[in-house]
């Protein structure tokens, strides 16, 4: 830990971690999406948009949980604390994603652009907060 501390700047560390989490989560959701299609059929109407939403959702969730994992790791009681901390914070994003993805299944509904922009804004907010707050978690 002390070695990391001498090696890196906290900002670059948290950005790298968030980026890694995001990419990993997008890859995992792509694989699981593929298996869902193979095993359970394809009810999706707007294919490209749905894949985009899956990536957006996975990326958003991994950003929030990436930062919460940092908090939970400092509290030294990982699994339970992280679930308690994460559940309320994640609900607004999950509600938005649910509404967004339900439009991809119906040929009648249009995809609401404000919701997508709101999710992107939330992602930007999480990254900004992580950059600002992580140095306080980092130094001991």
């Amino acid at each position: 830990m002390l070695y990391y501390y001498t090696l890196n700047h906290p900002t670059s560390f948290i950005l790298a971690k968030l980026l890694y989490n995001g990419v990993l989560m997008m890859a995992m959701s792509a694989i699981s999406l593929l298996f869902f299609f193979l095993l359970m059929g394809n009810p999706v109407d707007k294919m490209g948009a749905f894949i985009g939403m899956v990536f957006l959702g996975g990326f958003s969730l991994s950003l929030v949980f990436g930062f919460l994992a940092a908090i939970a790791a400092r509290a030294q009681q990982n699994a339970a604390v992280m679930a308690i901390l994460g559940f309320p914070v994640i609900i607004p994003q999950v509600v938005l994603l649910m509404r967004l993805s339900s439009t991809a299944f119906s040929p009648l509904l249009n995809i609401p652009t404000p919701t997508v922009l709101l999710l992107l804004a939330l992602d930007a907010l999480v990254i900004l907060l992580a950059v600002i707050l992580f140095p306080f978690l980092w130094k001991d």
């Binding site: 009681q77 907010l125 306080f136």
Partner: protein
Amino acid sequence: MTTCLLAYTFLAGLLGPVPRLPLLQETIRNLYFHVCMWFAMMILFTISVVHSIRYLRTLQPKFDRAARLYAGTGILFGLLGYSTGAIWASFTWADPNIPLLDSFSTIARDPKLIGAAVALLVYAAYMVLRDSINDIDKRARISAVYNVFAFVLLFPAIWILPRILPSLHPGNEGNPALDVKNDISAGMRIVFYPAVLGWTLLGVWITQLKIRLQTLVDKKFES
């Protein structure tokens, strides 16, 4: 001052003239209590976050103590807001022809109720996080970070989300309760604004007393 304002709220709120709106009737008097509770809760949580930020900037334990106690009082006002809201809803939203508990399941799905529940859960999680860390400095720093993170992420979300989703709860257009034209009449506003102020000051007063007590306890513990 708080006592005067609250005495005025109770007297004018229970006796003063109110417009008779369909469905609401006399229950509109609950506006002076229910809405004020949520205002007070949000203001107290905001004060708590400001203290957390000040703690992170200065690392003085008194700000951490204040942040924790303001959050605690905020949770109290949130619970009071829920109970007054439940009383109100049981007279206005609930279908009188079916048992109250059956209409509860449709009422409880309302996005605003969920948003408020999320806000209370965040601060419950804040308390859990605080108590799970033994080291005092570390506890103060980590919980301050979580407080800021959760507040900034959550409050835009609970202010924006309910305006997108359909809801039974009034206040979807414009600013809830502050809309001059539609929501409340001029006579009610004379009572409502002092009521908000009074309840908020009551919360601040309670918290100040708790902070003083906690400071003394900490001092005794140290010596």
